[in-house]
């Protein structure tokens, strides 16, 4: 693997990166690693709280367990402690390019707030990163056009996270949901009509028994009041 370390300045996109950065980019004909960080602690961490080894598979076959998706990771969520060091083994099971991008990280350690693994085809990459201490949910996705949109989206929750991101397969609803036709059969119509009939019957029943019902309601209310009063005392 004739890997080439590229100076940060060579990347137009991350020119703004602070001189403090020790990350950078590792790239060859199989793929690339950007902003890996196995030893720089975020400012809000005094030490690494735990070492988490996770293996993430990416591929079309992992979308089979969902409906209406085409690409996916094998898992959709990882929970870690504040200041955890995550050692990622990223495996691409497809014959095409996939990425694993994590967003929203502190910019002074990860230029543009991003950690990025990319495999140009079937293969494996390993890299680590250290999460800050903040209780937060981080986006994990593949940014190849339409891969996230069609299911390749997941999240890392530090300290339980601050909620779920939208449209994560099997976890959260999309913001802009698709509309599907309802399987509306004769039976469904029959249920609807029956309910309408029952509704009519109920109102008829109420009218002819108005007095009796009223009494019962009064009694129940009185009882409830009594209970509440006793509970208060």
């Amino acid at each position: 693997m004739k890997a080439l370390i590229i100076g940060l300045t060579m990347l137009g996109v991350i020119e703004s990166a602070s001189a403090m950065n020790h990350g950078g980019m590792l790239m060859d004909e199989k793929g690339m690693i950007m902003n890996a960080n196995s030893d720089n602690l975020p400012r809000d961490c005094t030490k690494i709280s735990e070492n988490v080894d996770i293996t993430i598979h990416a591929g079309q076959k992992h979308a089979l367990k969902f409906t209406g998706k085409m690409f996916a990771f094998d898992q959709q969520q990882w929970d870690v402690k504040p200041c955890a060091k995550i050692n990622i083994t990223f495996i691409n099971d497809d014959q095409i390019r996939h990425q694993l991008m994590i967003h929203g990280l502190p910019g002074y350690l990860y230029p543009e707030g991003m950690f990025h693994l990319e495999l140009y085809g079937k293969g494996k990459l390993q890299a680590s990163l250290i999460m800050p201490s903040q209780k937060k949910t981080y986006l994990v996705h593949c940014e190849v056009p339409q891969h996230m949109e069609k299911g390749m989206k997941a999240q890392i929750k530090v300290d339980g996270g601050d909620g779920d991101l939208p449209s994560i397969p099997g976890i959260s609803k999309p913001v802009r949901a698709d509309v599907y036709p309802v399987d509306w059969s004769q039976q469904t119509t029959a249920v609807l009509l029956l309910c309408v009939l029952a509704g009519c019957a109920i109102s008829y029943f109420v009218i002819i028994n108005a007095q009796g019902i009223n009494n019962k309601v009064q009694k129940t209310l009185a009882k409830l009041n009594l209970k509440r009063n006793t509970a208060l005392h």
């Binding site: 390019r97 140009y120 339409q146 949109e149 913001v175």
Partner: protein
């Protein structure tokens, strides 16, 4: 109330109704002596305006040498990235990391090796193509992603082949705009006659696709006995890849396109030009011409007999087809709507593009830019649904080849309208010799499809595939045509193509041909009608009440 009273009342009501009929107010109304005043709907509105040329990379325009590759000057507003060109000539395996970093190409996108015939150029070519969706949907909100505007405010859903890329597909972190490698049309591919060419389709898209090498010499099966013709039954499914193998014996302008659900996938943009160049010594070709247009590193054979070379890719879009991928996200629903609900036989073409852009964006990267006395080679491909009748103002050019086969000298007709049926290619020699036949002299000469739909964008003129054959002295330093400021103010504006502005809304005739305003409501009429109608309703209620009271008694 007596019967007599009742009859009287009813008669009054009828009379009132007849009276009211004369005062019915409407949403439109005939005008009296003075029609409404002209409305200036363009004054002070700048929200939709764009700069005609953003002039993002002036350093890309001059002629330059990168990695030893000579790159011709490109005076246009949006010149091709010279690093893309250098990499397309040398291969991703033969350029420095510094050059590769100036492109969005993956390191295995194009490898050039083995000079099989010992003539100084590589003859084993391995290219990798991905399938990219532009202006696609997102489940995360009401926006499109990896956007590519074909004209101001126009973002139809498109699919393109793209050389294998790396890194971010978006231009930057704060935008949904696709990076410059991901654009329409699918790139023009150039290989040399006799090269051993491997084309790997890596299907990054969520639907099956293939590459069919239309007109390119290729065996029906690969050496391994696998599909090599890209037909529907050998579709490459999402996440899979397939390599097509060719060693073309015949040179010419050919095509490549997807042959899965061909009508729709072709119209979505999965089609491009595939040019086999004559075998010549030391013939390093620009394997990819991203966005078509000017070839900044022409082949040896072209350089011998021409001063410049351009690829013109004509393409059209049916907005109903293009919207399918923007309205839903579930691949099954997209497949259903595209394969079964959509009916190609009842379709229209709404957008017409030259090299991925409609006018006025064609002025940024779709112009032919010439001096006097030039010989320019044009490769013209019709990848629309309908025929193209290409007309170049002020010039008559000569057909040199049809569908990649050279025309014998006696059949090389010189004319000013080139009829090109769908999927046909015409190679043309355009001369700028001011002799009253080939050229009428320097100018900003328009060239466009003369089929009337082709010059419009969803019916809005000027739009479609209109472009300009520009003589250099008539361009400004950003490569934009001079003397067109007024037109630019008008058309580099989304509101124009959203049909919100009068075509002749500014200038001396704005008062006479601008937007006619609305009529002021005729309040006297409205008040009279309202009062009379109220009176009628009141009287009817009165009659009913009286009638009811009588019944109760």
């Amino acid at each position: 109330m007596t019967k007599r009273h009742l009859v009287l009342l009813i008669l009054i009501i009828i009379a009132l109704a007849a009276f009211a009929a004369f005062f019915v107010p409407g949403s439109t109304q005939k005008v009296g002596i003075a029609p409404p005043a002209t409305v200036y709907n363009r004054s002070g509105e700048t929200a939709g305006m764009e700069k005609p040329c953003s002039n993002e990379h002036p350093d890309w325009r001059p002629a330059q040498i990168i990695e030893g590759v000579t790159i011709d000057a490109a005076p246009s507003c949006e010149p091709d990235n010279p690093y893309d060109i250098a990499t397309a000539v040398k291969g991703t395996n033969n350029v420095s990391m510094a050059t590769l970093m100036q492109t969005n190409l993956a390191q295995d996108a194009l490898t050039l090796t083995d000079d099989l015939d010992n003539d100084g150029d590589p003859d084993v070519i391995h290219m990798r193509l991905e399938v990219v969706e532009l202006n696609g949907a997102s489940p995360d909100g009401e926006f499109l992603i990896n956007t590519f505007d074909i004209a101001p405010g126009i973002q139809p859903g498109l699919w393109v082949y793209a050389p294998k890329s790396r890194g971010m597909a978006l231009k930057n972190f704060n935008s949904v705009v696709a990076n410059p490698l991901l654009r329409a049309p699918s790139p023009v591919i150039r290989v040399e006659q006799g090269d051993k060419v491997y084309i790997t389709l890596e299907n990054t898209h969520y639907l099956p696709h293939t590459i069919h090498l239309h007109g390119v010499d290729h065996p029906w099966l690969t050496a391994k006995g696998e599909d090599n013709d890209g037909m529907e039954e050998h579709a490459v499914f999402p996440g899979k890849s397939h390599t097509y193998e060719i060693q073309p014996r015949h040179a010419g302008t050919m095509l490549y396109h997807c042959h899965v659900q061909t009508a729709q996938h072709f119209m979505m943009g999965l089609s491009g030009m595939f040019i086999v160049e004559e075998n010549q010594p030391d013939n390093w070709l620009q394997t990819f011409n991203i966005g078509a247009g000017q070839v900044r590193h022409p082949s040896v054979a072209v350089t011998k007999s021409y001063s410049q070379e351009y690829d013109l890719h004509y393409q059209s879009v049916d907005k109903k087809l293009a919207q399918i991928i923007q309205n839903v996200n579930d691949p099954r629903l997209i497949a259903q709507r595209m394969n079964r609900d959509y009916n190609m036989t009842e379709s229209f073409e709404n957008y017409f593009m030259l090299n991925g852009h409609s006018f006025p964006y064609t002025l940024r990267d779709g112009m032919i830019i010439a001096d006097e006395n030039e010989d320019i080679k044009l490769h013209i491909a019709n990848l629309q649904r309908s025929s193209v009748a290409l007309h170049i103002h002020g010039h008559k050019a000569t057909v040199t080849a049809l569908d990649g086969v050279d025309q014998p000298a006696g059949l090389q007709v010189t004319r000013d309208v080139f009829d090109i049926a769908p999927a046909q290619r015409t190679d043309v020699r355009l001369q700028t010799k001011n002799d009253g036949l080939h050229s009428y002299g320097p100018g900003l000469w328009m060239f466009h499809d003369h089929v009337p739909t082709g010059t419009t964008t969803d019916g809005m003129e000027p739009g479609g595939n209109i472009a300009i054959l520009a003589y250099k002295p008539l361009l400004d330093e950003q490569g934009m045509p001079k003397m067109h400021d007024e037109l630019f103010d008008q058309v580099f504006n989304k509101d124009y193509y959203a049909k919100k502005q009068a075509v002749w809304g500014v200038g001396d005739f704005a008062q006479l041909l601008g937007q006619a305003g609305l009529l002021a409501p005729d309040y006297l009429r409205i008040i009279i009608f309202g009062l009379v109608t109220g009176l009628i309703i009141g009287l009817l209620v009165f009659i009913m009440l009286v009638f009811k009271r009588k019944q109760n008694q």
